[in-house]
């Protein structure tokens, strides 16, 4: 049964509302820890209600991603006790049925004008000073090439309006519970040089950061004259005055369009 279920590569329960309900239970037990309640994204995992998924949209691709995990990401395999409590093939299809039932088809075209959004991104809104999309832009903030596929419009809106509310996640490490976040660090080195930038990684003894001039630094904390860190993002908050709603929609349309083209990886 299980082999047959997988081999066909197509969801045998497609559109079955009862199965979607079972899938919701599985999702809560296995997936919600990272992907949040209602699959709307959590601290670690992307929003899965987006119809566009960075690692594949087809039934077969989603089954593969859940069953085997996604190498190079925090997504573990369902089969080895890596995800939550583990799932059988049938349960994986239940979860996929559930995810399909909560998908929202946010497309760039419906959201705003992506062409104008691109002009804003690299022009007056100056997003491209710190963010890269498909190889073009700055380095201080997270690469946004695939963000349109992994985050909801609501999340993107919040990130623009209130960037400090939920800091973007940076590097993660196997068996470390929480990823590094884009915190802001200010250091004064032993020779009195003052630097500000984002924390790329940190432990009790060292800090690795990128300063606002895009220079990488690695410090031993005890050798610094001072080290201060805040959860106030270096990104300015784009309120309705700085970025009217129409511009915001165009910008988000650009982010969606960029990831629809296949992202930056």
């Amino acid at each position: 049964m299980a082999v047959a279920l997988r081999a066909q590569g197509k969801n045998p329960f497609s559109g079955d509302a009862k199965v979607a309900k079972l899938g919701e239970s599985q999702f809560r037990a296995n997936c919600a820890f990272c992907h949040g309640l209602g699959a709307r994204g959590g601290g670690r995992g992307p929003d899965l209600t987006s119809a566009q998924k960075h690692h594949g949209n087809t039934d077969a691709e989603m089954f593969h991603n859940v069953h085997d995990g996604i190498p190079g990401t925090a997504m573990p395999a369902a089969t080895e006790g890596g995800i939550g409590v583990g799932m059988s093939d049938e349960e994986i299809w239940q979860v996929i049925t559930y995810i399909r039932s909560v998908e929202k088809k946010a497309s760039a075209a419906e959201t705003g004008n992506a062409t104008r959004g691109k002009e804003l991104f690299y022009g007056s809104a100056a997003c491209g000073t710190c963010h890269m999309i498909n190889g073009k832009g700055g380095r201080l903030g997270p690469d946004l090439s695939s963000t349109g596929a992994s985050r909801s419009v609501e999340y993107l809106t919040e990130s623009l309006r209130s960037p400090s509310k939920r800091l973007a996640k940076g590097i993660s490490q196997p068996l470390k519970d929480f990823a590094q976040e884009y915190e802001t660090a200010t250091v004064v080195t032993s020779d009195g040089t003052k630097l500000q930038g984002v924390v790329l990684d940190e432990d009790s003894f060292t800090v690795q950061m990128l300063d606002t001039r895009e220079q990488l630094h690695a410090f031993e904390k005890t050798k610094l004259r001072s080290y201060e860190k805040t959860r106030e993002s270096l990104m300015p908050a784009y309120d309705a005055k700085a970025l009217p709603d129409k511009d915001l929609k165009d910008l988000i349309a650009f982010l969606l369009a960029a990831s629809e083209k296949g992202g930056g990886q």
Partner: protein, 531 residues
């Protein structure tokens, strides 16, 4: 018997295997009882029957710890969590790793002598990784309890299987992850599987033959006291595993075990009542498995607050205590002669309980129960601490514990029981809008529950703690550092970056008068010593 005379009369540095030929006396129950007399060895999971995880070795101390360097590393080359504490007996290290592998190493060089790999079936149900935490030893056998719910005796010189018994059906969610505890001629183990609707138990097997001598079900059956604390038939699938190694008081011939969450772990509907003996401390007669008394930490648990933390025996004057820093955020001191609670003090952020009962036990607030939409509760499901060992240092008289400051949103996810399938009844996840989560090593005074000092970790960690007569405590962090701190002040004296999270509890041993401290991190077991 000859050996017993030796260890009572000769300082530990020259006991037993100083000769290269090293054909030593076997590990007798007498040696286990007197483990403190041979601190060069580490004879059981927590180092001694009291659960202190304290080493009397002092060559590495707070004046020279800064000079520590790696001596060797042993790679299991397996992924996942490496939670094991090895044993060392007379120069040979016996360890386990992921996927139920077992190995014997030359403890001086880290070179393997033999390896055993359990061939695990595909349908095992480990809730939380393919982990194993270690071995028990007696005579010329080491004992491992496996993820497919077998208890196996291996010949300590070859790794050959001497006996292999099946304790329960792994397909229904039964598994073992703990290091067995050897008492007299018995191998005592407790089962894992609280996430699968098992009925928990603690078993004792004859070390010579593997014959099961007794089983104590951690959920009372019909007609037994405590059965009335379960609604309907919920007792049959009520979880209450016992997945951390217990302790043993030879003066009263009592073994202390702790139990895990009731099932489903985060939804109380359908199992109304206190759900004995989930989340409890049990005092058992090791000869018969009969219950002497019990103390329940969390009644009718809905937050996955397994009480599976080592129950540490502390003697203070005439007081005979069990101290436990519980996953639910309270530090409990219980009179181990009768199970009466002496004190319960929070040692981390707690929001599930704001009141205490007549006994002094923190009781759950109704408002803290999981809801469909989600309810933020501290500590989170991973707990204020977890399975990683604390340590009690008889020199500083302090109890050191890894504390995790993390809250979760608990949301119910009603589901029917289905044998062998996960049975959580809920979801929990961190609230990503909340302040960042962090961790700390905390030094508590067991007499008062008061915090003496803390060392802050950058993020919550799963590393346990070792204390030593050198005035040191050793622990690790999620960022990969293995750290030595001054036991009196909490000042970090040394650290080494292991390259992956430390997900185990450290131990110490000595060979030919040279002290080592060992810990697992990533896929490797590391041994450190002075240059």
């Amino acid at each position: 018997m000859k050996f017993m005379r030796v260890i009572h009369s000769i300082p530990y540095f020259i006991v037993c295997c100083v000769l290269p030929s090293s054909s030593c006396a076997q590990v007798t129950f007498g040696r286990l009882l007197n483990s403190s007399k041979e601190p060069q060895n580490w004879l059981m999971y927590s180092g001694d029957y009291a659960g202190h995880r304290f080493s009397a070795l002092d060559q590495i101390n707070n004046t020279n710890a800064a000079m520590l360097v790696p001596q060797w590393a042993y790679q299991t080359m397996a992924g996942g969590k490496f939670e094991a504490t090895p044993l060392v007996v007379d120069g040979i290290l016996y360890g386990t790793g992921q996927d139920d592998r077992v190995y014997a190493l030359d403890a001086r060089s880290g070179r393997p002598i033999w390896q055993y790999q359990r061939l695990l079936p595909a349908d095992i149900r480990p809730c939380c990784g393919r982990v194993n935490r270690g071995l028990g030893i007696l005579g010329d056998k080491v004992f491992v309890a496996t993820l497919d719910a077998h208890v196996i005796a291996l010949d300590s010189k070859t790794g050959n299987v001497v006996w292999d018994v099946n304790a329960a059906e792994h397909g229904k969610g039964y598994s073992f992850t703990l290091a067995p505890l050897v008492i007299k001629n018995l191998v005592v183990v407790g089962v894992s599987g609280g996430e699968y609707g098992i009925r928990g138990f603690i078993d004792a097997y004859d070390a010579a033959t593997g014959e099961r001598k007794w089983r104590f079900y951690t959920i009372p059956g019909p007609g037994e006291p405590g059965h009335e604390t379960w609604e309907g038939d919920s007792w049959k699938i009520g979880g209450s595993p016992a997945w951390i190694t217990g302790t043993y008081d030879p003066t009263t011939n009592t073994t202390f075990w702790t139990t895990g969450n009731p099932a489903p772990s985060n939804r109380g509907e359908g199992r109304a009542g206190d759900n004995l003996y989930s989340d409890s401390l049990l005092a058992l007669d090791p000869d018969t498995g009969k219950l002497k008394w019990h103390f329940q930490f969390t009644q009718h648990d809905e937050h996955d607050y397994d009480a599976t933390q080592v129950p540490v025996m502390i003697d203070d004057g005439d007081h005979k205590w069990i101290a436990q820093a519980n996953r639910n955020g309270f530090f409990y001191v219980v009179d181990r002669t009768n199970g009466k609670l002496i004190s319960a003090t929070s040692y981390a952020k707690v929001s599930w309980s704001t009141s205490k009962d007549a006994m002094g036990r923190p009781v759950p607030d109704k408002a803290g129960a999981p809801t469909l939409e989600g309810n933020r509760v501290c500590p989170g499901a991973a707990g204020a601490t977890n399975w990683m060992s604390p340590t009690y240092d008889p020199q500083t008289k302090l109890f050191y514990v890894t504390a995790r400051e993390q809250c979760d949103i608990f949301a119910t996810a009603p589901q029917a029981y289905d044998a062998g399938h996960a049975y959580y009844g809920s979801a929990y996840f961190p609230n990503d809008e909340a302040q960042p989560f962090w961790g700390a090593l905390r030094a508590l005074d067991p007499a008062t529950g008061k915090l003496k000092w803390e060392w802050k970790h950058a993020s919550p960690t799963w590393a346990g703690v070792l204390s030593t007569a050198g005035g040191l405590v050793f622990t690790g962090d999620a960022e990969g550092n293995f750290i030595a701190l001054d036991a009196a002040s909490g000042k970090a004296l040394w650290h080494f970056q292991c390259g992956a999270s430390v997900f185990a509890s450290p131990m110490s041993f000595a060979i030919d008068g040279k002290q080592y401290v060992a810990v697992a991190a990533g896929s490797a077991l590391f041994a450190f010593g002075l240059p």
